[in-house]
Structures are given as C-alpha cells and as structure tokens.
Assembly symmetry: C2
DNA sequence: AGATTATTTGCAACCGGTTGCAGAATATTT
DNA sequence: AAATATTCTGCAACCGGTTGCAAATAATCT
C-alpha cells in the first residue's frame, strides 16, 4: 500500500540511490535531480520508511520513555513536556509502563528489539538497577527524577532528594515546631529513602527536637489519609513533612475530618508543588521541584549523549524552593 | 554491537532460515534444531530485531497513541490503562502529543514513516478530521473519548456526550433548580459542543426553566475559576453543569472565594469523576465516565481491527452515571 | 580548447530478517 | 521392505532503504 523508494525512482526515471539521497540531508544531489525526484515523490505521496532506513543507518530516533509513576499528577506534565521536547528534536517516544515490573529483563529485551536510540527513565521510585540494566544493554540512558549517587553510573537529572529532606526539616524548625514527623511514601521508593535521610541528617544537629518517622503504603491520597488517621490516634507531631503532595493532601483530609485545623493543630509541608496544591480549597505549603527545567535538561543531555555515546555519566541537580501557602504556621520572627 | 541472526546461525552451524523459524511461532522446526538454535542464541544473548522483521512481515506492533489532552488528570489514568493494555497484547505505544497541532499532515506522515500498525486517538477535544486523516492513510483507527456521529467513519469508543448533557440537565431539574447554566469548556472542543447540545435539548421540553450558556477558555482550573467569577458578578444561575471536573473545581473555588456556599447558594455538577473529585475537601457531585471500560474496549476493538482490516466502523457507547456528592442540593421528594 | 578538479550519478552489496520452493530426512502405510 | 505421505531444512530472492566506489558530468583553470 505505501509508496516505496523504487516506485519514486521509476517514475522519476532515476536510480534508487538518487531518490535516497534527495531525502537524506548532507548527501550530494544536483538541483535538477532534486526537483525531478521531489516532483515524483509528491505526486506519489511518498515518504521514506524510517524503520527500513534505520537498518543501515543504525539510528531509529526512537527513545524509550519508561516510567512507573502513572498515578502522580505531576507526571502528566512530565509526559507532556517529554513528548513535546522529544518531538521537537525529531525523536519519537516509545512509552513503556513499568508498573508492577520488578525485573528489568523484559523491558530491556523489548527496547532492544525495537532498537531504541536511547532510554529516558522518568521515575522517582524505580531502583537504579533498571537504569543500569538499560545501560548494560548498550543504550544511552538518562534517569530523570532519579536518586543520585555520589558516583553516578548513568546520567541522572533531578533534585537532590536528601537536600529536599533537609530543606523540609529546616523549614519546620524555622517555624518553631519542636515535635516534627516524616510521613513518607512507600519505604522502598528511592525518593522516600533519600528524603528521609536528609530529614534525619538535618535534625541530628538539633537534639532538642523530637522527631518521628513513618511510611504510607503508596504515594496516593488514600494512603496519606490512612496513615495520618493512624498518626492522629496516638500522640501526633506538631507538623509533618509529607512524602509528596498527593500524600500530603490525603493527610490534610484526615486532619480536617478529625475535627482538627491545619495549620493550627497540625502543620503539613508537601513536595512537588503539583497543580492542585495551589487550588484554594487545598492551598498546600510545599517544596517546589522544577519539573520543566528537569525535563528540558534531561532531553538536552539525551541529545548530547546520542551525539557522543561515550559521554561520561553526569548528575545534574536542580534546587528546590519552599512555596509558602496555608498549611504551615508562619516563621518565627528573628 | 547487538547480536544478529547470522551470528547465531554460524554458531549453531545451521542456516539463517532455521534461526528465523525458531523465533517465529507457527513455523516448522524440529525439536533438535530448536534446541541447537536456542542454545546458541542464549549464549550470544540474541533477540530478534523487530524492526527488521517488520520489513517483510509488514507488521511492527507499533500503535500510535495520539492525544492532545495532557492537562486533564483523567488522562494520566487513560495513558496508564492504554500502555498496560497494549503491552499485554504485545503492542508498543508510540506516544504522539498533538497539543497545538492544527493540521493532521505532519502527524500522519510521521506515523506512516514509522509504519504503525494502528492508531488510537485518545482525545475528547480533537476534531474528527484527525481520525479521518489517519484512516485515509490506510491505518486502522480507534478514536477513544471521541464524539460520535450517526454515521461513524472510524471506530469511536466513549460516552454519548449529548446524552451526558441531557443527564446533567435532568439531574438539575430533579433537584428543583429553575435557573440553570451550562459552563462549558472551550467552544471549539467537540465534547463541549455535544454536551451543550444535549443540555439544551433536554431543557427545551421545560419552557419554564431559565437556562444560560457560556464557555471557559480551556478545560482548566483557572479557566473555570475565571469564568465563574465573571458569572457571579451578574445574576448567576442556581446551579451549573461544569464542562468537566477540573473546570468545576475551579468554579467551586470561585464560589467559595466570593463568600458564597456551594450547594446552598450555587450548585455544581461536573463530568468525569476524576480522582480528585472525591477528595473530601472538594467532594464534587459529578457525572462518571467509565474510563476503564472505554479503554479496555478500545484496545479490544483495535486488536480486532488489526486482525480484520476491513472491519466496518462502529461506535461503542458506554453510559454515564451521576455520582452523588456534596455540590448539588438533594433531589426533591417525589 | 584541453587538461584538471570537483560534483553527480548508478551499480551493487549490504542492513537484519522472512518466506516460497524444492530437495532431504523422517514417519507412516501397505 | 518398498512406496507414499509428512515434516524439516537450506537456497535464494525479497522487504525498503543506504552507501562505498568508480564511471560520467559539470565546473574551473591554463
């Protein structure tokens, strides 16, 4: 059904190579030849088969976009930015949903079968083993929103989750809270671990502060709500660092339903600054993660790595900022 | 770098065809041969190149997943369900972001270059011209969440938006509202037009009801908020059918900020029943769209159409239900 | 104009697989 | 055991392009 190179060549009365060259830029074709071929191509409605050409060029322009975060609203924006950014560079995102996948073997095989030029891992929860498995398969990898190690083995772009944890702790201290809590996401998520570590590290310099830690089952409204209801039954802290915004909003709902007031009785600070956080019936104080910059930078890094496949792995860190809203009491006067 | 068929054949000491057959099911290979080949393949870490084979088989198992709804939280779930559902059938979603695209030419070309086996258009706002353009390119198309015409030219799976509009109108009538409004999404969106048409149709049977219509700039919180603020300045209706949930939540925020109470002063019914609608600090009465069923059915329909490419276009309609929450006053006693 | 150099062009082989066909190897039948 | 029917296997051509190489054309220089 689709028109092939050969048909165009025949109609234009030239060789197949000539047609091929008119459609590969940088190739040597005379203007007259180009005109002839383009005319024939137009009349036939020809457009070259990217897959066939990938066979010889070794480039598909396919980029695996793998994620397992299909329940966090910020990731819709992440996908939006990634797809547009990749498209703008002529790259095609092959979306891979890794929810419930524990072993990288299958995804790796699949991505190799489709000869992707690179893989973007967009996930805050996938263990680094996945990225490494892709790299070991010889594919350039950028892990966005990943956790950074001191010696990155693949490119990582994101925030420093430990620093975010420290920032959360500092913010709570500034507000004069003396009993604080970390209400994290699922314990196995890399982001949770890192944020907790930072949170603890910062507080360790303040021995007078009482701190507690617990984990919700998932990064979800219900999990946050459930966990906060549990916490409120016993002696709750004065303020919590919620694992992320969705979780924090769930916690907020628990607080209100328990007849308590936020921030008067219990304070909350979230993380992400997702769209809903600023909705005025939520109005969540939170730590903002610069998503747009992270995605843009990830795409640039991927493009650069496609050029130079031996590029040394690097970590690109973006800083977070506190977004003041209504779920934490004001800072103490200095 | 990657291992090829030939290398496996050499190592196993057999012909290339033999190796190929081992990896295509339904092909005739003896057990001893299969064992030999599989051993060699395992040792070399071979897995067949799907793109190369697509050249001769004519099937890539690539499915274009095209959408322009990257700001509506329900679409995150839609993408989740689609990617998993497609993956489960061995199909690979090639994600295409059509935001800001007004002409189907480029996307069509791109999808043809990558020889997708089919296209799923997942959008409630794209005009039918896009689906038709894909179909005209000879690719099987399923338009999910699309608007249905009486004579579908491509497969359409979704709700009957007109019926949803009627349902909204009926619901408002049941509650005894006599001055009602339609606060739609952007006027050009197909879903908005259909919902409005149904809303009007239902009310036309009730000449005593005063009805008004207006449109927000987008399906977004801010647009809904802005439009409701505008409406509240003049003489507002007693209750509104909000174009979708996000819009309705924006409207809700405007109502509260204006010192009014919902549902006491102004009622709202949304559409979609997205996750946040049930968050208790929102608690939006809304019309539920059965997303999961729509996606599942779309995938089945796509799979069936891949089998029989001449399948006659059909429309699959799922019904909506009202989800009672807190933004509409109770129904009148009968 | 003739020699020299730079551009174009077509040939043919190749990218990594698949598949119709015919001969070889097995299995089944009588 | 011979004849017949089945199942396997390799050959070679093909899928839709690309590209090194050498011949053919065009451009530039004396």
């Amino acid at each position: 059904m689709p028109v092939t190179l050969k048909e165009v060549a025949e109609r234009a009365g030239v060789s197949r190579s000539a047609v091929s060259r008119t459609f590969t830029d940088g190739a040597s074709v005379s203007v007259s030849m180009r005109r002839k071929v383009e005319k024939a191509a137009r009349e036939l409605g020809y457009s070259p088969n990217a897959l066939a050409s990938s066979l010889t060029t070794g480039r598909t322009k396919l980029i695996g976009l793998v994620s397992n975060n299909f329940h966090n609203p910020i990731f819709l924006e992440v996908f939006d930015l990634f797809t547009r950014g990749l498209q703008d560079r002529g790259l095609r995102p092959l979306l891979v949903n890794l929810s419930e996948e524990v072993d990288p073997t299958n995804p790796v095989r699949m991505l190799r079968q489709y000869s992707v030029d690179g893989v973007v891992v967009a996930s805050s929860t996938l263990p680094p083993g996945f990225s490494k498995a892709f790299r070991d398969a010889g594919v350039p990898v950028v892990h966005s929103f990943g956790s950074l190690s001191s010696a990155p083995e693949v490119h990582v772009v994101g925030i420093d989750n430990q620093e975010a944890g420290r920032l959360a702790a500092r913010t709570l201290l500034e507000r004069g809270y003396t009993r604080v809590g970390f209400m994290g996401g699922p314990e196995f998520a890399t982001s949770t671990q890192d944020r907790l570590a930072g949170f603890i590290a910062e507080l360790s310099a303040h021995p007078t502060i009482r701190a507690s830690y617990s984990f919700a089952d998932a990064y979800s409204f219900d999990a946050g709500r459930k966990e906060m209801l549990r916490l409120l039954k016993e002696e709750p802290a004065q303020a919590y660092f919620g694992g992320d915004d969705v979780l924090s909003i769930g916690a907020l709902s628990a607080i209100k339903d328990s007849g308590l007031d936020c921030p008067k009785d219990v304070g909350i600070i979230g993380l992400n600054d997702m769209e809903m956080a600023r909705w005025n019936n939520i109005n969540l104080t939170t730590i903002r993660q610069p998503i747009r910059q992270i995605v843009t930078s990830s795409i640039e890094l991927m493009a650069a790595t496609l050029e130079d496949r031996d590029r040394f792995p690097e970590a690109r860190i973006f800083s977070c900022t506190v977004v003041e809203r209504g779920t934490l009491r004001p800072a103490l006067k200095a």
